[in-house]
């Protein structure tokens, strides 16, 4: 078997050195009733690389890739072009096949990249500090809620109606287990400011999203002011990191904690994961953050170097008193993010964001002209919500037959909310003018 270096001779010789008769000796503690006679039943035996590759290729071919044709799905994950060099970098053996940098003398590569990542994320969000990644945006959001309760010593969290419902659900799950009360406002295309009306002295934080899951941009500054006035924190969420090239940052809006999904920068769609959660906050809350942090220091020769730091927050030191149970995070996606961000730079990011925004404007214009379509979003980055005269489910199914993947129906996001005719559609730099034309034409045909 190609991945197993021991030969039969090796095994025999090693058993001899050990003084064991067979490997069965090592399993002596296994209860007799749990000892299998042979390989697990009902499963095939080993297969060659070609066979496995063919099997996987066949399964892959059953999926319609975003780049196979016009594609407008967003809602928390975005189709962006990733430079080929990013994938080369993350496939370097030294990055791909290494562990969390617990031994800094032989992990400066990962550590320096992490330090650069933290700096980039802080600059991108306008926040003071960032950690070295979370699993994804949704779990970052949940951790932010819990952290806000820890910081404020309060026990209620209020979430906007524009917060991505998966984020809201994830947050509710974690909060409920921790005994935190969760208030979720009704879904609304443009309702983030409602948060301001829902703060009282028991509220630990309000959580708003911009652009929200419908694509609407909101300046959350006033929400933050209302929260702060009541001793609550403002937590802001974004799912489209590229938007930060153009839109008002969490820092500028006065966020205490800002979290988001970093997938848009360097990470492929990948059917939902792995992604990379971004977690930032004000410096004063640094020691309450979940996850890994990389810090600058010097080595015994006085040379600059980097280490994982403030680990007294973490489970391996603090155990049940830790700020979170997170251990393995999203290292390689972090690297992809930072490498792509380095290629972009401020200049490239702003440019990229502009192209995204223009594509969305074109999409809104094109669809808006289709009879039976009403564009609902008025302030947006690269994603819009629109209402049609027919149920979105049927519309999308018809579009699919015309090879147009037209977006996400709100009824999938918020079932039972009575928003059955609304579709959320995103347009990135990958969408061409002819894709947009094709969409509008198909929609006209379907409606």
């Amino acid at each position: 078997m190609r991945y197993l270096p021991l030969t039969a001779d090796d095994r025999a010789e090693m058993l001899k050195t050990i003084g064991a008769k067979s490997v069965d000796d090592f399993y002596g503690d296994v209860p007799a009733s749990a000892r299998l006679k042979g390989p697990v039943e009902g499963l095939p035996n080993h297969a060659g690389e070609m066979q496995v590759e063919r099997h996987m290729t066949k399964l892959a071919a059953k999926n319609r890739a975003a780049s196979d044709g016009p594609f407008f799905v967003g809602c928390g994950a975005y189709k962006h072009h990733i430079p080929a060099s990013v994938d080369h970098i993350i496939q370097r053996s030294e990055f791909l096949t290494t562990y969390t940098p617990y031994q800094p003398e032989i992990a400066q590569g990962t550590l320096q990249a992490m330090f650069e990542f933290q700096t980039q994320v802080a600059a991108l969000t306008g926040m003071e500090v960032a950690n070295a990644s979370m699993y994804d945006g949704s779990t970052a959001c949940a951790e932010a809620a819990v952290m806000a309760c820890r910081v404020t010593k309060r026990n209620t969290v209020v979430m906007s109606g524009g917060l991505h419902p998966h984020y809201a659900d994830t947050t509710r799950t974690l909060c409920e287990a921790a005994g935190i009360k969760v208030i979720q406002l009704a879904p609304a295309v443009d309702g983030e400011l409602e948060l301001a009306k829902n703060v009282d002295d028991t509220v630990a934080c309000v959580i708003g999203q911009s652009p929200n899951v419908f694509g609407t941009l909101t300046d959350l500054t006033s929400v933050g002011e209302a929260a702060h006035a009541r001793g609550a924190l403002l937590v802001t969420v974004f799912t489209e990191a590229v938007s930060l090239g153009l839109v008002k940052t969490p820092g500028e809006m006065g966020a205490d904690i800002a979290v988001g999904e970093g997938q848009s920068i360097g990470v492929p769609l990948g059917f939902g994961g792995p992604y990379v959660g971004l977690f930032t906050c004000k410096s004063k809350f640094m020691r309450q953050m979940p996850g890994r942090l990389c810090g600058e220091t010097v080595d015994a020769d006085g040379k600059r170097g980097f280490v994982l730091t403030l680990s007294t927050r973490e489970q391996h030191i603090r155990r049940d008193k830790a700020t979170s149970n997170i251990c393995t995070n999203s290292g390689l996606c972090m690297l992809a993010f930072t490498a792509h961000m380095t290629l972009l730079g401020d200049k490239g990011l702003t440019h990229l964001a502009t192209l995204n925004h223009e594509a969305a404007c074109d999409l809104a214009d094109a669809l808006g002209q289709v009879k039976g379509v009403k564009v609902l979003t008025t302030r947006y980055f690269n994603e819009i919500a629109f209402e049609t005269t027919k149920p979105a489910e049927a519309v999308l199914a018809e579009l699919e037959k015309l090879d147009i993947i037209g977006g996400v129906r709100v009824s999938r996001l918020f079932p039972g909310a009575g928003l059955d005719n609304i579709i959320v559609a995103a347009a990135t730099e990958c969408v061409t003018a002819s894709d947009i034309q094709a969409y509008a034409a198909a929609l006209a045909q379907v409606l």
Partner: protein, 523 residues
């Protein structure tokens, strides 16, 4: 001795010891000096060429960014060099044995990287119509089927994003089951061995449980007497979190009794499956009375650790816990596979753990790994992993101090007993290994062994590599006994010397700022 303008000697010959010789460039042979992107890049530069914007009037509604990010860009040649240079300061499995106990650093087959990048997997959106992602759903189903059969468990939750997230999944299911029984508020106590990984108590605490620690017996297993004493009044018992094989690298031989005891007490048995590699294909946790167990795909099933993730932690569940599994999950319908994404379709579910459907990129890799090995190969994986660990144990027994008597499972645990009175500590042994070309073993974990050194070679090491490693470690052990002072300052041959962690924690610098850059790059 001539000096250059920064006061460093200009001549290699004028200094003793070549490794410490200063060069003008700061590089040393192939080891390239490299600054931070903030020092070498500029906001003027970018490594991407994009289409010209049309100049559309903004519809941002005034919600615009005030100041630029100030982030530097690098052109592609500069960026490539930056990361390639950095990479060469890392150790990696592809360079050598990576004996981090509990981490299962095994070879990462490149086939898996290839299939994960097929556009039908990598370029598929989690929210596109389900009819267009049937192949992706089949991957999840096929992997789930393997995991259930390998564990002999009836259900598996596929969304957890790492081991700790899998623990959360299992403990939330237990919590939900207790509430369903009407005992949620009452049963809050979770038993956790002292030897447990930090994520276990942290997870239990995150779910509102109270941790009750159980001691280790002198043989490194759970102290059954202590356990029983904790169950005298079982009324508040929620369950136990037990790692098996445990973090001492030993099989919990009383595991079925423990399962029975905890069940009899009205609790559930969460098994930490991080060490599944030792038994995969040979022992099925479902045969041991387990109610929930996460599987680290990034350990047993070889998805790359990537310098700290991403991982994936599918969690198998017993019949008792299966109804409470998180959404989304897959069901089979006449039209093919379908995702159940919402609570209303699965009212018993404890809810959602993350956006979308789990770590698909890890599923494709793990499935390719599993299919490559097959049932026979996976059994061999476990056996070779255990054989390798026992070989290391046997080879090092004469010069180091095994923590316990007898055989081990997939990892060999030593205490710092042999370092007594030498002044040399576990950390020095670890750092000494770096000079010998190895990543250190896990140190000071598990907590139940003094100065613990936990060595997990995995099955993907050849005998020759093990021999070389054992010889190197034995030589370090001998040097320690001889009180070789150079160990206290090791490593000497790595890209960096020992780093000042205290300083890092005392006044944390977590990001670059123009001021900090006066402290310049390694030269």
């Amino acid at each position: 001795m001539t000096m250059n303008s920064t006061g460093r000697p200009t001549s290699l010959s004028s200094i003793d010891g070549e490794a410490t010789a200063a060069t003008t460039s700061g590089s040393k042979g192939l080891l390239q000096a490299e600054g931070l992107i903030f020092e070498i890049g500029s906001t003027d530069k970018t490594g991407v060429d994009l289409a010209k914007p049309k100049g559309t009037k903004s519809r941002l509604g005034g919600v615009t960014r005030g100041a630029g990010t100030g982030l530097p860009g690098l052109t592609e040649p500069e960026a490539m060099r930056h990361y390639v240079r950095l990479s060469q300061r890392n150790y990696a499995i592809d360079l050598g044995l990576f004996p981090l106990g509990s981490c299962t650093m095994k070879h990462n087959p490149r086939l898996n990287e290839k299939v994960a990048r097929l556009s039908g997997f990598a370029d598929v959106h989690p929210m596109q119509p389900q009819s267009t992602v049937q192949g992706a759903l089949e991957v999840i189903e096929e992997l789930a089927d393997w995991l259930m059969k390998l564990t002999n468990m009836p259900a598996v939750a596929m969304t957890p994003k790492a081991g700790a997230h899998g623990e959360l999944c299992g403990m939330l299911a237990i919590r939900a089951a207790l509430f369903a029984r009407g005992e949620g508020e009452k049963r809050k106590r979770v038993l956790v061995p002292v030897s447990a990984h930090g994520t276990n108590p942290a997870t239990a605490a995150q779910c509102g449980f109270i941790i009750d620690e159980i001691n280790a017996a002198p043989d490194g297993r759970v102290d059954l007497a202590d356990l029983k004493s904790k169950l005298v009044d079982p009324s508040d018992i929620a369950g136990i979190m037990l790692t098996n094989p445990n973090t001492c690298g030993l099989f919990e031989r009383d595991i079925k009794d423990i399962a029975d005891l905890i069940h009899a007490a009205g609790g559930y048995f969460y098994c930490d499956g991080a060490n599944f590699n030792a038994i995969v294909g040979r022992v099925r946790p479902g045969d041991l009375g387990v109610d929930a167990m996460h599987i680290n795909l990034h350990k047993t099933f070889s998805t790359p650790h990537g310098g700290g993730g991403p991982g994936s932690g599918p969690t198998v569940l017993s019949d008792k816990l299966a109804p409470y599994a998180p959404v989304p999950f897959i069901t089979k319908t006449a039209d093919g596979l379908r995702l159940v994404e919402h609570h209303d379709e699965a009212p018993a579910s404890f809810g959602r753990m993350c956006a979308f459907h789990g770590q698909m990129g890890m599923f494709t890799r793990a499935l390719a790994y599993i299919l490559s090995h097959g049932a026979d190969g996976l059994k061999q994986v476990a056996e070779d992993a255990v054989l390798n660990a026992n070989y290391v144990l046997a080879r090092l027994k004469p010069v180091m101090s095994p923590a316990f008597e007898g055989y081990c499972m997939h990892e060999a645990l030593f205490s710092d007993g042999f370092l007594k009175d030498t002044g040399v500590e576990t950390i020095d042994i670890a750092k000494g290994l770096i000079d010998e070309g190895y990543h250190p073993m896990t140190m000071y974990f598990p907590l139940v062994v003094h100065g613990a050194m936990l060595i997990e070679p995995t099955e993907t090491e050849s005998k020759a590599e093990l021999d070389r490693f054992c010889a190197a470690l034995a030589s370090i052990a001998r040097r320690a006994v001889q009180k070789d002072p150079s160990l206290k300052t090791a490593p000497h041959l790595a890209p960096a010397r020992r780093l000042d962690e205290t300083r890092a924690a005392r006044s944390p610098r977590l990001r670059w700022t123009p001021e900090t850059s006066t402290l310049k790059a390694a030269e």
